[in-house]
């Protein structure tokens, strides 16, 4: 990684932390908060690309595990990862990588719809695939209940995907950072 890559990694780790300054809303029953922070992996993947995006989110998760209060609402520590939302958090680096990879692959032919599809795949489908069983295991509820509880995230996720598509397109025009794979 070049110096520029390292600085970008730090930037998107910090951006994810800063997104946590918006107050979270905790969902009852499953005990996982809705936060703006899940936009972190989407923005990191879409703007910084696969490698730097994944590294940024991995760094963020390490800092949270080390006890820095960077999660929404000033939370931090290994308790986050071991709590009900841990599956989602651990998937963030993977989500950033997949989103970044698909963005770089299709960079020449990206349309708004394609971008939204990539973001839904990486930021929602993939994350939930691990996040929901994790809730079921940690909170000791059955899988169906965890899935229904998590459905409350979907409207928020839809808003986040639209916002990230708009932002990523504008940023790409103003300050291109990705190179096609």
């Amino acid at each position: 990684m070049s110096t520029r890559d390292i600085v970008f990694v730090a930037l998107f780790a910090a951006l994810t932390a800063a997104l946590g300054l918006f107050p979270p809303v905790t969902l009852p029953v499953i005990g996982v908060p809705i936060t703006a922070q899940s936009m972190g992996p989407m923005l990191a993947g879409a703007i910084a690309g696969a490698r730097r995006g994944a590294a940024a989110l991995a760094l963020f998760v390490v800092l949270v595990c080390a006890g820095l209060p960077l999660m929404a609402g000033g939370r931090g520590g290994l308790g986050i990862v071991m709590g009900p939302g841990g599956g989602f958090v651990l998937m963030w680096p993977v989500a950033a990588f997949v989103i970044g990879f698909l963005y770089e692959r299709g960079l020449e032919t990206l349309t708004a719809w394609k971008e939204a599809l990539i973001l839904v795949l990486g930021g929602v489908v993939l994350t939930y695939a691990v996040g929901i069983p994790w809730i079921a295991a940690v909170a000791r509820v059955d899988l169906a209940k965890a899935a229904i509880g998590s459905a409350w995230f979907l409207p928020g996720d839809a808003v986040k995907v639209v916002l990230v598509v708009l932002v990523a397109r504008a940023v790409r025009r103003a300050y291109p950072t990705l190179r096609p794979r």
Partner: protein, 202 residues
């Protein structure tokens, strides 16, 4: 980020590695053994540690305040579902963890914390992550958070002047573009000082 409070207590003098490990152990124990007596004991112990470190009560409250209303919701939900004991357990556990994590940051200089993390992550070397680079990235991240907040405040004011204060896109795009531009400047500045990431550990 809460800056550290200088002091000479045993907690201040303890190296950051053991403190982080103790925090991790406490967090794991509290979640693995959901018992009210254990949570209250850890909470009591944490209070004692704060006194030992000589941290004023005002700062103790500041550690928990951002959590206050999440805590209220959580406790109410637990009260409604499982009774007062479950509610008390959730609250005691969360407050104890927040206070313990806060205590580590309050009694450790961030440069020491970064150094400890850097050493603790040496095992990542075979995976292609250089601890020196990780250390640089951590230091930059901690510095970028307040910078991001400042830039966001500036852009928000500028967009308010244009009547765009309600548009999230009009806020986010300039913030990110400015941060990307700044990142390039920071990278150029680091390179100009002959920092060689491939030889930084030497």
């Amino acid at each position: 980020m809460t800056p550290s409070i200088p002091g000479r207590s045993p907690l201040h003098r303890c190296p950051p590695g053991p403190k982080i490990l103790a925090l991790v152990a406490a967090g794991t124990a509290l979640f693995a053994l959901p018992r009210l007596d254990l949570a209250l004991a850890v909470l009591g112990l944490t209070g004692w540690l704060y006194r030992l470190a000589g941290i004023p009560a005002r700062l103790v409250l500041a550690q928990v305040r951002p959590l206050a209303w999440i805590l209220a919701v959580l406790v109410l939900v637990q009260l409604a579902l499982d009774g007062w004991q479950a509610g008390l357990l959730v609250a005691a556990r969360l407050v104890a963890l927040m206070l313990l994590a806060g205590l580590v940051t309050l009694t450790t200089r961030s440069s020491d914390l970064i150094e400890a993390l850097q050493r603790g992550l040496a095992w990542l070397r075979p995976l292609g992550a250089d601890p020196a680079k990780v250390g640089l990235a951590i230091a930059l991240t901690l510095r970028f958070i307040p910078v991001l907040a400042a830039i966001t405040a500036e852009v928000r004011e500028a967009q308010r002047a244009r009547g765009l204060e309600r548009s999230l896109v009009a806020l986010t795009v300039p913030v990110i573009v400015r941060m990307l531009k700044m990142s390039d400047d920071v990278a150029a500045a680091i390179d100009a000082r002959s920092y060689d990431p491939d030889r930084a550990g030497d």
